[in-house]
């Protein structure tokens, strides 16, 4: 059991948990994830880490309440415990002094980008950070990102705050020499960013979030095609060269269980009460 020591709501339905897990905290690095399971009959859900505090012995992660499990997770409060937290899983991000690094975080993945931005900064890079969301209400960590970045930009799909869409990235990329781009967010965003940087020959690392079950290389649910070869998101990734990823296949594979996910959410809504009680045991 892993105790929640801090809970906060960063934006509607986007919640942050700081969880006591000293062994995981001691080993966790930016780019890695944990597998969380909330109850005996629950599913195993991968969530990218946002921070690891070795002194406090805690790890932090952020999730968006979109499906049954994340909603159930959102019902837990400070002082409650999570049944299973397994990690750190996946390979740590490559963090070194590259020169100028452009960090693009979108949606709920703005959160783990903070871990990355902070590490890139510590490694001595000039950090340009861009965060984006559908609408301005879904933006968060603006102050934290600003404080750690040499340049900081905001974008929304509807233009309700900052730039509208990601077209402005072209100007940023044209304005100065950028040595590396890292992107975390929805697949469509990763694809847009990768397509922009490819003609410029700027190495672009994207964090992929395929469906996973065990998260440690056993099932292959998370397989992605990179440079024409099948890789496992969990043990070969989750970060890959954005110029080599087959994004269309990734989107198709992410949608494999959409009808079932909807059914589970509906089931949880209608008779969720029973389920939640059962899960507290």
């Amino acid at each position: 059991m892993y105790k929640i020591v801090r809970k906060s709501e960063l934006a509607p339905k986007i919640k942050l948990f700081e969880v006591a897990a000293p062994d995981i905290a001691a080993k966790a690095n930016p780019g890695q994830f944990v597998i969380v399971k909330t109850c005996e009959n629950g599913e195993r859900v991968p969530i990218t880490l946002v921070n690891a505090d070795t002194k406090k012995g805690t790890i932090t992660f952020v999730f968006n309440e979109v499906g049954k499990t994340t909603r159930q997770l959102g019902l837990l409060n400070e002082g409650d415990s999570i049944l299973n937290v397994c990690g750190p899983l996946g390979n740590p991000s490559e963090i070194e002094k590259f020169g100028t690094v452009l960090c693009v975080g979108g949606g709920v993945m703005i959160a783990p980008m903070l871990f990355q931005v902070s590490a890139m900064r510590k490694a001595g890079n000039k950090v340009i950070t861009v965060i984006g969301a559908r609408i301005k209400d879904l933006l968060f960590f603006e102050n934290e990102m600003k404080a750690l970045s040499d340049e900081f930009y905001v974008a929304t799909d509807d233009g309700s705050k900052g730039y509208k869409g990601l077209d402005f990235l072209k100007e940023i990329l044209a304005k100065q020499k950028i040595d590396r781009v890292v992107a975390m967010g929805p697949v469509v965003m990763l694809k847009i960013v990768s397509e922009m940087t490819k003609p410029l020959g700027i190495k672009t690392i994207v964090t992929l979030t395929p469906i996973m079950v065990d998260g440690m290389g056993m099932c292959g649910a998370c397989r992605v095609t990179v440079a024409g070869k099948t890789k496992f998101g969990c043990v070969d990734g989750p970060e890959f060269d954005g110029h080599q990823v087959d994004f269309e296949e990734l989107v198709q594979r992410q949608r494999m269980f959409l009808p079932e996910e909807r059914l589970a959410a509906l089931f949880h809504e209608r008779i969720g009460g029973i389920n939640v009680v059962k899960c507290e045991g």
């Binding site: 062994d23 995981i24 080993k27 399971k37 009959n41 629950g42 599913e43 195993r44 049954k68 499990t69 049944l83 299973n84 937290v85 397994c86 990690g87 750190p88 899983l89 079950v213 065990d214 440690m216 290389g217 056993m218 099932c219 292959g220 649910a221 397989r223 992605v224 095609t225 099948t230 043990v235 296949e249 198709q252 594979r253 949608r255 494999m256 269980f257 079932e260 996910e261 059914l263 589970a264 089931f267």
Partner: protein, 473 residues
């Protein structure tokens, strides 16, 4: 136990015939996940035990990887001393309810049974299961343990090898901690073997027994990532046993393999067995099985996958195997069970590519017919593709069950640990010791994918060596 109607077992006409074990009717069981084989009654067990002639030089014992004293425990069954009989079994085997169900006895103890020369061998596995189930119903008590040695052993992986090593070392008075990466202990017994062949409550009960012996089981702990082997020694462990198994799925690397509806057998079985997706949506993890399922491969894992697919509502489940029936590596009993349930086999065929629909879901599989050439290094005749024999099969679900490879994480994160080109860990045959002092290994991580009982045998052997090593240190 199941409410389903059981088939009436045939009575033995003479001592050369074994007492059949009652099973669920194939038509009924093809639609449920309850256990297929229902176990002997006391009367059946006594009748079967009476067939053992207690040979002075028993072939069965020699052929048992854990050297179970088979004639001795069967003699106790004959005398109706069931409590003593299970104690006798447990002297050598800490997981009898599991072994009684999933050991390939026909290849081991029962293969060399003297009764088998003229008739059918004594059903050793069924008797073992009878005793273990009977004890479980009564409530299992742990034996008296020796005083603690003060030595600590870390076991990496709570599968058959690790659990056996843990039990033996705990019985010798060592403090044992078992590290399991998944959220449940049992390894392949919980994620691989289906409920209808090995109910998970049985595995849980065996794990509980090992806990009763004093072993600590720590789940969610992926050694290699969370702690390295070096760090385990720094934490105060005096020896380490690695039993991390062969859990990585293999794919064929043919076009279209990443289409929707194509699962590795591991993913398919993990979803169904570990995550209980047959109970979705009460259990959260989904699985989708269409009407026409193809399972690629011919081992026990292929049989298990096919039988799960049938139970999940498939109209037709076809095993596609590149050799012929004779070469099927699955246990004969499992092949018969699968056939009885209506699984069909397409022999001498192999997939070439998968074809998807607009949404990226598999709809067809192009195969090629094979013929058998001269034997290969495995001794089985090598399948050779027949030019121009390509054909199309309509499928909407495919399970790729062509074998599993060793888990690589310990090998990658442990300096100085000698491995083979296949990624298995090199050990000394007699002791199970690796290239590192105090580090032992056994099971699939050493041999590559094999059986539960051979992993248990390796766990047992390593436990003996670890004990020797610790008491000398």
């Amino acid at each position: 136990m199941s409410n389903a109607k059981a088939e009436q077992p045939k009575c033995p006409q003479d001592r050369w015939h074994a007492v059949e074990m009652p099973k669920q009717d194939p038509k009924v069981r093809a639609h449920n996940f309850d256990e297929v084989a229902l176990g002997y009654t006391e009367e059946q067990a006594l009748t079967e035990a009476a067939r053992c002639i207690s040979c002075p030089k028993p072939g069965c014992v020699q052929n048992c990887p854990v050297e179970l004293e088979i004639p001795a425990f069967i003699k106790l069954v004959k005398e109706k001393k069931f409590d003593e009989a299970i104690r006798k079994v447990k002297e050598k085997n800490s997981l009898p309810a599991i072994c009684g169900r999933v050991c390939p006895q026909e290849e081991q103890c029962q293969k060399t049974c003297v009764m088998g020369k003229k008739g059918q061998s004594v059903s050793i596995g069924r008797l073992e299961r009878f005793l273990a189930d009977r004890e479980m119903q009564k409530g299992v008590t742990a034996p008296q343990l020796p005083s603690p040695t003060g030595k600590k052993v870390a076991i990496v992986g709570a599968g058959p090898a690790g659990l056996t090593a843990a039990a033996d070392l705990a019985k010798l008075g060592h403090r044992v901690s078992v590290f399991e990466a998944l959220h449940l202990a049992g390894g392949v017994l919980v994620y691989g073997i289906p409920e209808f062949r090995l109910p998970k409550r049985i595995v849980q009960a065996e794990v509980d027994y090992i806990k009763k012996l004093g072993a600590e089981v720590r789940t969610d702990a992926l050694v290699g990532r969370l702690f390295t082997i070096d760090e385990l020694f720094k934490q105060g462990f005096d020896a380490v046993f690695i039993g991390t198994g062969a859990g990585l799925p293999q794919f064929m690397g043919i076009p279209g393999e990443n289409l929707g509806g194509i699962y590795s057998a591991n993913e398919f079985l993990i979803r169904v067995n570990l995550m209980k997706s047959y109970l979705f949506p009460e259990w959260d993890t989904p699985i989708r099985v269409g009407k026409h399922v193809a399972v690629i491969g011919g081992g026990n894992v292929a049989m298990d996958s096919a039988r799960c697919a049938l139970r999940l509502g498939a109209e037709e489940v076809c095993i596609v195997y590149r050799r012929s029936r004779e070469e099927l590596p699955a246990r004969e009993e499992e092949i018969l069970n699968a056939e009885e349930e209506g699984i069909v086999c397409k022999f001498l065929a192999a997939p070439l590519r998968y074809i998807g629909d607009k949404s990226g879901w598999v709809k067809e599989m192009e195969c090629i017919a094979m013929e058998l050439g001269p034997p290969d290094e495995s001794g089985r005749r090598r399948p050779v593709a027949m030019k121009g024999s390509e054909f199309i099969m309509s499928v909407d679900t495919v399970v790729v069950a062509i074998g599993r490879t060793p888990n690589p994480i310990i090998q990658r994160t442990t300096k100085g640990l000698e491995t083979t080109k296949y990624g298995t860990i090199v050990v000394k045959e007699e002791t199970g010791q690796t290239s590192l002092e105090g580090v032992y290994a056994g099971g699939d991580i050493v041999t590559g994918e094999a059986t539960v009982i051979s992993a248990m045998g390796a766990g047992k052997k390593a436990a003996k060596s670890i004990h020797k090593y610790l008491m000398k240190v």
